[in-house]
């Protein structure tokens, strides 16, 4: 909300004079964001990149010799190979599954679309440590590279599904219809017309999947798959060696930057083709009739959801039935659920608010500086939660002791940790929103603040909603940063689950996991329903 008064003041001088206002409108047509927007997005980037500064300081403290001894050994090669193989396999699988599922739900006459829109997002709400445990306890053979690929794909494909579904909702069906009317087949139209329009959503989703894998810990620990992150945790667990662990995280940063550079090249190649793909004339797109493909499509989705949701559900039920432990304090469960809900909603809101100016700035301003800004902020997604949490401890203790171990610091850390998720969702919507509408509004005499509220935010609303929900879902299941930063004495669902599981009281732990999934299901349901009503609203 601080955006509004500042932006207002910045242009107050020009707003009085008609001629100046028109000149301003003309300048805007060349897509130049206000200096205020540039300053805001730079400030956000600086905040998000604070953990990287912390890493460098820690690595210096560890000393080059120690960092070299840890990095240049045989294990590093193994970790590098494991991490890269997994990233390629899982990202590819997530893109294929996410795009297919989104297309089926948004562009075909698939039966039960509303239910699918919710069910397909839910697997993202299942904590990684629950999914990993479910698979390894029911099918002990699921481990190593293929086990990790299976479990992570089932947990992460919603990161591709959500932005692609949002983009399919938002895109103008006209180019597809033109291609079809010119005699192009369905598949040809999909590959040559639809996929390029989805490019920002698709690349963003794939990128986030890849970076999330780098930072993943809970599932790999259980599936016995060693990556850089599991080794970083081991350094902490037994080594009392924060500086060395931080130094190893720099390797993750390097990997993340390489992935970002690749995405940059891919995105750059397609830029401009549909950059102004308009939504102002958006109509309800024509839905393809599946006909004889209905049964296979339904079967595929049922299988997907059964694996992604059924396995954790089966494991949780098994724990509840098998275990004799009945030490379940009902009151503490409600309190933990309330804390989880408030923290996660705040993190979702803050991350989304932070992402909006950066998304507007980087999409509207096609410059090298903007591109660098955007790329580097995303690298945070490749950092484990523990590292972000330790950075937050460091900065709070040294520069703002009054915020240490308050809910505010926890929420800020969450927002930094999951900022990339919010950014990617918002960016996909901003890229699709026609800038011309804002220019028209400006030329009609609306001030920037008014344009923001009346035009920009409604246009990118699906992206904002998706961003909020994504961050909310992920925050609900976050554990390692929560343990370090949560106010002393406060329990969340995740920390309670951890405490009981640590005690081998799986029966007592299971209800907390069920509550986690139930809370995370709320935004999944809302986002599904909300998308569903979107086109008719725009029509009216």
């Amino acid at each position: 909300m601080t955006l509004v008064p500042t932006d207002d003041a910045a242009i107050a001088g020009t707003a009085t004079d008609d001629a100046a206002r028109n000149a301003d409108a003309v300048r805007r047509r060349t897509s130049r964001p206000t200096p205020v927007l540039a300053a805001l997005s730079t400030a956000v980037a600086a905040l998000v990149l604070l953990p990287l500064v912390f890493l460098v300081l820690q690595a210096r403290q560890a000393g080059w010799d120690e960092v070299r001894a840890l990095l240049f050994r045989h294990l590093t090669l193994v970790l590098l190979r494991n991490t890269i193989e997994l990233a390629v396999l899982v990202t590819t699988a997530c893109v294929l599954i996410g795009v297919t599922a989104a297309w089926l739900v948004e562009r075909t006459n698939l039966p039960g679309r509303r239910a699918w829109a919710v069910l397909l997002v839910l697997p993202f709400a299942v904590p990684d440590f629950v999914t990993g445990y479910a698979w390894s306890s029911i099918f002990p053979a699921v481990h190593g590279l293929w086990g990790a690929t299976l479990v992570m794909t089932l947990g992460l494909y919603p990161l591709v599904y959500l932005p692609v579904a949002a983009a399919l909702r938002g895109t103008d069906p006209a180019p597809e219809e033109v291609a079809r009317s010119l005699g192009r087949g369905r598949i040809h139209t999909f590959v040559r017309v639809t996929v390029p329009m989805l490019r920002p959503a698709l690349l963003g989703g794939g990128l986030v999947v890849c970076l999330t894998l780098f930072a993943e810990y809970g599932a790999f620990e259980i599936l016995r798959f060693q990556t850089f992150t599991t080794t970083i945790f081991a350094e902490f667990q037994v080594g009392f060696n924060g500086p060395a662990a931080s130094a190893l995280s720099l390797a993750l940063v390097a990997l993340g930057l390489m992935v970002l550079a690749t995405e940059g090249l891919l995105a750059g190649r397609g830029r401009g083709r549909f950059a102004t793909g308009s939504r102002q004339a958006a109509r309800v797109p024509h839905r393809h009739r599946l006909e004889r493909w209905t049964a296979p499509a339904l079967g595929g989705l049922v299988g997907l959801v059964a694996l992604a949701l059924g396995m954790p559900a089966a494991a949780l039920s098994y724990w509840m039935v098998q275990s004799h432990a009945t030490t379940l304090p009902g009151g503490s469960m409600l309190g933990a659920a309330a804390h989880t809900a408030v923290y996660s909603a705040s993190a979702g809101a803050l991350a989304t608010i932070l992402a909006l100016p950066v998304a507007l700035y980087t999409v509207r301003r096609d410059s090298r500086a903007a591109a660098v800004l955007q790329r580097t902020t995303l690298v945070v997604q490749a950092l484990p939660g523990l590292i972000i949490a330790l950075a937050a401890v460091f900065y709070a203790i040294h520069y703002a002791p009054w915020i240490y171990q308050t809910p505010q610091l926890l929420v800020i850390a969450y927002a930094i940790l999951f900022y990339p998720l919010a950014f990617v969702a918002v960016r996909a919507s901003v890229a699709q929103a026609p800038h011309r509408l804002e220019e028209v509004a400006r030329s009609l005499g609306h001030r920037p603040a008014s344009v923001l509220v009346r035009v920009t935010v409604p246009l990118v609303a699906p992206g904002l909603a998706a961003a909020f929900c994504l961050v909310f879902l992920t925050t609900v299941t976050e554990l390692t940063a929560t343990l370090v930063l949560v106010p002393t004495g406060v329990h969340t669902l995740a920390t309670q689950f951890w405490a009981y599981q640590n005690d081998a009281s799986y029966g007592a732990a299971a209800p907390y996991a069920v509550a986690l999934v139930a809370i995370a299901a709320v935004p999944s349901y809302l986002i599904g329903r909300w998308f569903d009503r979107l086109p008719s609203r725009q029509g009216g």
Binding site: M1, F240, L386, T488
Partner: protein, 348 residues
């Protein structure tokens, strides 16, 4: 109009939610500053249920409230180091001695009151008197009784590196419970042979490298793997959780004096930076008192009480009848030599 309303609603909603947490925070902050003298903060690396039982009994006995912050003890130790003089911790309570030794080495712990130290045998206390032992834990082999007979069991931890156990054993190299065994083996046979032993153990894992002792005992009990290295109480806790009829496993000690046969100490210390020294020392005194040790003996912790003459009542071999390797707390240190060996063997 609709578009505009939606935009306003969205921004307002986000702002309201974001500020909601601020309100939430200020409420709990005022609550915390209430009775400052009567509340201490405990950084807890022990199993939470054990700690909860002890804290409840302490508050009932003294009226002093305890705020508990739980995490892995090594993460907490590093958090305390990072916090330095600004640390909010008054007491640090851990599962194993190395995390306390680490803080002791950094000079962050205050001396423990002499009467508290005196209620526990001196071999279980900090060599420099800045933390006190609270309970003891014994390293053992857990084996699946359908797969292995007692006669087949190894008598030394060194035997576990024998190729005949390939694919049949498991241990958790990342657990703080495993480090002391490595320290002990290295002290007994030297670094060279310890490395060879670790490499043999690693080769024998053959895919059974589980993350923690809870998983190990569950996997041995279910027959996924035949045998594992754990501390005794993990097995007792699983039995308490599953019930005796679901147990298909048993515990076995190594031969007397074997380097794998260890008694480790869980302990607690007061932070030098604590602003509630008196209350914090009272907490330590309670942990080692007869009342505190009885909570330990009768709870679901299944660790050995070691103070004020209280003994375990759950049918375990009495502590004084055990014949562990002659390792002292000082020998264990903060475990960093063991970590280096584990790194060289590429287990970390």
């Amino acid at each position: 109009m609709r578009l505009r309303r939606r935009g306003v609603a969205m921004l307002v909603l986000m702002a309201v939610v974001a500020s909601g947490v601020a309100a939430c925070g200020s409420v709990s902050a005022t609550g915390a500053s209430g009775g400052a003298n009567d509340t201490i903060t405990l950084y807890n690396g022990q199993h939470e249920q054990t700690t909860d039982a002890l804290v409840k009994a302490f508050t009932a006995a003294t009226g002093i409230k305890v705020k508990v912050r739980s995490d892995d003890e090594t993460v907490l130790a590093q958090q305390i180091e990072q916090e330095g003089a600004a640390s909010q911790a008054d007491v640090f309570y851990t599962e194993n001695s190395p995390a306390l030794a680490e803080l002791s080495g950094k000079g962050l712990l205050a001396p423990v009151e002499a009467s508290t130290l005196a209620s526990v045998p001196v071999k279980y206390d900090s060599p420099t008197g800045d933390w006190v032992g609270v309970s003891a834990r014994v390293s053992v082999v857990v084996y699946n009784t359908n797969e292995i007979t007692p006669a087949q069991l190894p008598t030394s931890v060194m035997d576990l590196a024998n190729p005949k156990w390939k694919g049949k054993i498991t241990f958790a190299p990342g657990e703080t419970d495993f480090q002391p065994i490595v320290t002990s083996v290295a002290r007994s046979v030297g670094d060279q042979q310890t490395l060879a032993w670790l490499e043999g153990m690693k080769a024998n894992l053959a895919g059974h490298d589980y993350p923690d002792n809870e998983t190990i005992v569950a996997k041995v009990n279910s027959g996924d793997v035949e045998m594992g290295l754990i501390n005794t109480y993990y097995w007792y806790r699983l039995r308490a959780s599953l019930g005796g009829t679901a147990m298909h496993s048993a515990l076995a000690m190594f031969a007397p004096g074997d380097p794998g046969y260890l008694v480790n100490v869980s302990g607690a210390g007061v932070l030098k930076s604590s602003k509630h020294q008196v209350a914090a020392q009272k907490f330590l005194a309670f942990l080692t008192s007869a009342a505190g040790q009885k909570v330990m003996a009768t709870s679901d912790s299944f660790e050995y009480p070691i103070g004020s003459g209280v003994v375990a009542t759950d049918g375990q071999t009495p502590l004084e009848q055990l014949k562990p390797a002659p390792m002292t707390i000082a020998d264990l240190g903060n475990g960093q030599h063991a970590v280096q060996l584990l790194q060289q063997a590429q287990l970390l």
